[in-house]
Structure formats: C-alpha cells, structure tokens
C-alpha cells in the first residue's frame, strides 16, 4: 500500500504496545520504519542518527511537549515532516504542535488506511487536515482576531483612524480570507476536498492550497512571535 519503500518513518510513542503495532503495520504495508522512540529525547537522538522522512509523533510524551519535540526535530532537519498522532481531548497541545511546524494531525482512533494515506501526504509535504484540526485552526484565527481587536480598543484612540478598531491590528497578525474561512469551515464539517471543490466550483488542488495556506500563515506567525520574544528577552 505504501508505494515508496524509500519512505523512512520514525514512530514516537511512550506506549510500547501502540508503538510496536503501528511500526509492524507500516512495515507490512511496505514502508521502512527507520526507528521507534518512547520519549522526546530519544526521538531527537534517533532522528539525528536515522534521518527519517516522516515522524509519527504522539503528543503524550513523558519528558517534553509535542510542540517542543516538533520544534527541535525541525531545527535539526527542516525537511522532516512531523505527523501528529494523538488521543482526542488534547486540543491545545495539538494546536501548539501544529503551529510549531507539524505537517498534519490524526486522531489515534483513525483507521490504519487513513494513517497510511496521511503518512504519504505528509511525505509529499501536503498538510494533513482532519475536521478536528480545521476546527482548531478556525478557533485560533478567531482568537488572534479577538485579541488584536481588544488590543486596538485598549490602545491610543487616534491610531485606529477612520477604518475602526478591528482594522487597526498589526499588519503581521495573520488573517483568513473569506474564501479560506469558507473552505476551512467546510473541512471542519467533514467535507472532503473533492466535495468542497464541487460545491465552490474550484479545483481540488485549489482547495488543498487554501487549506495549506491557513496553516502556513499560523506557523509563520508563530515563528515570528518566537523570534520577537527571543529578541525581547535578549536571547541570541
């Protein structure tokens, strides 16, 4: 099922039964399992040694957060694709890992065929968007918009100008276009890319691009925030 035997995968999960079962399933499907790891530090060591193409990352690791592991994996190798595999009910953790640069997110209860498809998409650099992730990303844009509106209202009155306080947000604040919001809401309501493409009279590729853009904008914003924070704190 996995056409690309060159595709090397690192499976990171603190639960051995899960880790071994997923690794065995991937091997059966014809993928190469580059290694397995039970915690974040081990994952980083194995990744350095084996250079996997895709890291299947559980968020519930004993030593560091999923976002931290994702950031460090990408710092060591910007080409690696991190696919988050998590139990439900960890919404903030999922969002943090995604904005830290992960390529996609799947729930652990997903079917194995979905997992394989997600691994292949991630390897190709395509964002893996589940309805749950679309809901998180929509929520995050709304939170950022609400935060900047409140900031603008609380700031000096003159700076808002004639366009009103909600437009006074810093130009660096990421915003969704109307089309992106539309597409993201449909993804969150469970529609597939071909279904959305048919409904909005777009090509499935365009739908994919819209979805991907929403995530890339958040990740760039997150990176800029980190850099700004680092500069403010005087960290070189």
């Amino acid at each position: 099922m996995c056409p690309d035997a060159e595709l090397r995968i690192l499976v990171v999960d603190d639960h051995p039964i899960w880790r071994h079962s997923v690794a065995a399933g991937l091997e059966e499907a014809g993928c190469t399992v580059a290694g397995t790891a039970g915690d974040g530090a081990q994952a980083l060591r194995v990744a350095t040694a084996t250079r996997p193409g895709v890291v299947l990352l559980d968020l519930n690791l004993p030593d560091m957060s999923g976002a931290e592991v994702t950031r460090r994996l990408l710092a060591a190798d910007p080409a690696v694709r991190v696919l988050i595999l998590s139990a439900s009910g960890e919404r903030q953790d999922v969002l943090d890992a995604m904005t830290a640069g992960a390529t996609g997110y799947l729930v652990k209860s997903a079917q194995f065929s979905e997992l394989l498809a997600a691994v292949r998409s991630a390897a190709a650099g395509e964002a893996v968007f589940t309805p749950g992730l679309a809901g998180l990303v929509l929520g995050e844009y709304r939170r950022l918009a609400a935060g900047s509106a409140a900031e603008a209202e609380g700031g000096p009155a003159g700076s808002a100008g004639p366009v009103g306080p909600s437009r006074a947000a810093s130009p660096g604040q990421p915003r969704l276009t109307e089309r992106e919001t539309e597409v993201l809401r449909l993804v969150a309501k469970g529609m597939t890319y071909p279904e959305i493409a048919a409904l909005l009279v777009l090509s499935p590729r365009t739908v994919q691009n819209h979805v991907q853009n929403t995530l890339i904008k958040l990740q760039l914003h997150n990176k800029a925030q980190l850099v700004r924070y680092a500069l403010e704190q005087g960290i070189e």
């Binding site: 639960h15 919404r91 903030q92 997992l115 929509l138 709304r142 939170r143």
Partner: protein, 358 residues
C-alpha cells in the same frame, strides 16, 4: 482533661490528709477521697474514647462532683466552712465542668458550671469574696473552654475533610493516568485494527471504539471541573458526543457560556445527532463544529446521510407533527438563540445552532 483531674485529685488528697484531724467525721473524709479516686479512674478510662463521652455519664460526673461539694457540710464542721475552709473536692469539681465543655460546647460548659456553682453556694450558705472568684473562674472554664474545644473540633473536622478530598482527587488522577496509558491505548488499537479486518472484527472494533470514547469522557471528567465563574465550557459538554461515527471539532481553548445557553446548545446538538442515527441511514457519519466569534457561539451538526426534500419539514410542521426540528428550535429560542436546518435528498443534513452572547 485527665491531667487536670489527676492534678486536682492530688491537691484534694493533700488537703484532706492535712485537715482530716479537724474534720467532724475524718472517716467520711477518707471515704470522700476514695470516691474521688474511684470516680477519677472511671471517667479517665471512659472519656479516653469519644464513644465513652455519653451524655448520661457526663451528667453523672456533674452529679458526683456536686454531691461531693455538698458533702463538705457533713464532714467539715460549720465553723471551719464559715472561716473559709476549702470544700472536700476543691478544684477537682471543676473537672466535670470541663467534661461538659468538651462534650457540649459553651452551652454545656456553662450548664455544668451552673450546677457546681449552685452546689457550692448551697454548701457555703453564703457568698464570700473567695467563693465568688472561684465561681467566675468556673464560669470562664465552662464557657471559654467549651468554645475553644468546639473551635478545635471544627478545625480538626475541616482539616480531615480537606485531606480526604485531596486524597480522593489524587487517587482519581492516578487512575485516570493509568487508564489513559494502558486501557485507552489498547481499546484504540483494537478499534483501529479491527476495522481493517472487517466482518465480525469490525463490529468488535466498533464496540471497542465506543467504549474508548465513553471511558475517555469519564476519565477526562468534565463533570468534576467546577464551572469558571458560573460559566460552562461548551467544548467540554460536546466532546463526549464524539465517537466512531461522530467527529467533534472545537477551538483549542474553552468555549465559555452561561449555564442555560451552554446546556441548551449541548442538548440540541445531542438531539440533532439522535436524529442522524435514526434517519440518515446506517452508514451516515456526522460532524459537529463549535465556533466562537466572540459575539455569538455557533454549533453546526452536519451528516453525509440520506437528507430530505426542502418542503418536507414545512409539510410536517403544517400537518401539526412537532418533529425533532421543532424541539431543537424551541430549546434555542428559550435562550435567545436560533436554529436552522438545511437539507436536500442525497446531500445529507446540516443543523446550525446559534446563541448570541448576552
């Protein structure tokens, strides 16, 4: 209290030993001392356990002390009493007042003190300055002692309750962690792999999946989290609705709403999902999306099932059949919100529930 009783008993014994030659009935003096020693032993042993502090025993304690105070008039010549000689039990009598205070709080302490004081006054048949001071001291011992004991007991009970609560929460967390690390992972695995195998395994997988989400909802325990400032997290209310056929998507943070609108939205979404199960077909899946734009909260319930023709809902309404759609609309109207239903045959159904914030 036992210490007070023993110390005062020794004091009384010393006084009786010193004065017994002047008593009208020295033998009776020794008998009174024997009664005090015996009674001290009985009360110290009985009061050691909380179950031993029975009201009748404490009443008997007061009665014995009062009787001994009164016996002074039989044992000691009247001239010595009038000259200010101490009573036979001296301060030992106050130990029964303390017993009353411990068992009955300030009221009990004062009542016990009242009886002993009455006995004292009857015994003296006068109220000299020294006796008056003793009376004040006994009243203070009964009242204040009772109050302090009561405060102490309350503090002890509160600390005990807090410790129990803390232990229960810690134990609950420990179990939740254990379940999360083991049972849930295995159930998720069975659910995922069983579906791949198909046939009978797929049915087992479905059951495992349902148990996984039920157990997860139980150990994540939204119910035990106290509502923030009287508000409820809508995401926490809706997430347990998710399962193998239902996906619930929410923002990362809590979606806080007042109690009534939050419960109305959750109940309406639950009804919409029941409807999907009943009417949308066996293979239908459903998605719940929670959106919070600050001014209002929107919950969309979409399924990919059979759907229905646009006029059918209106027809049913006109025919006087108040369907589920009406009940959902009613719930939302009650909290100032609105609901709309969109569907077409073969295209599934979408119910959109919206509640404005204030």
């Amino acid at each position: 209290m036992a210490v007070f009783r023993v110390v005062t008993l020794i004091y009384a014994a010393v006084l009786i030993t010193r004065d017994h030659n002047g008593y009208a009935h020295p033998a009776a003096g020794w008998l009174a001392l024997a009664v005090m020693v015996g009674w001290s032993a009985v009360t110290i042993i009985a009061y050691a356990r909380p179950a031993g502090r029975q009201p009748w025993l404490i009443c008997a304690d007061v009665a014995v002390c009062a009787a001994l105070v009164l016996s002074t008039r039989l044992i000691v010549p009247a001239s010595q009493i009038n000259a200010g000689a101490p009573t036979i039990p001296t301060s030992w009598a106050a130990s029964s007042v303390l017993a009353c205070a411990v068992a009955g709080g300030p009221a009990g302490g004062l009542a016990g003190a009242g009886v002993i004081i009455a006995a004292d006054i009857v015994e003296r048949q006068a109220l000299p300055q020294a006796t008056f001071s003793n009376i004040v001291l006994i009243l203070i011992a009964g009242g204040v002692g009772g109050y302090i004991v009561q405060l102490g007991l309350r503090a002890e009970a509160a600390a005990d309750h807090a410790a129990r609560l803390e232990a229960a929460i810690a134990e609950r967390d420990r179990i939740a962690r254990g379940i999360h690390d083991s049972v849930l992972q295995v159930l998720a695995l069975v659910a995922a792999r069983g579906r791949e195998l198909g046939g009978e395994s797929a049915e087992l997988a479905r059951l495992a999946g349902e148990q996984e989400s039920a157990l997860r909802a139980l150990v994540t325990g939204t119910a035990v989290v106290p509502p923030e400032g009287g508000q409820l997290d809508l995401a926490g209310l809706l997430e347990p609705l998710g399962g193998s056929r239902v996906t619930v998507s929410c923002p990362a943070g809590a979606v806080l709403l007042d109690d009534a609108p939050a419960r109305a939205l959750a109940a309406a979404a639950g009804e919409a999902l029941d409807n999907v199960r009943r009417h949308a077909g066996a293979d239908a899946r459903a998605w719940v999306l929670v959106e919070d734009d600050g001014g209002s909260v929107t919950v969309s319930v979409r399924d990919n099932g059979l759907g229905f023709a646009a006029g059918r809902l209106a027809q049913a309404e006109a025919a006087g059949r108040l369907g589920v759609a009406q009940s959902i609309k009613g719930r939302l109207r009650d909290v100032g919100g609105s609901a709309c239903v969109r569907s077409s045959p073969g295209q599934g159904t979408e119910v959109e529930l919206r509640v404005p914030r204030r």
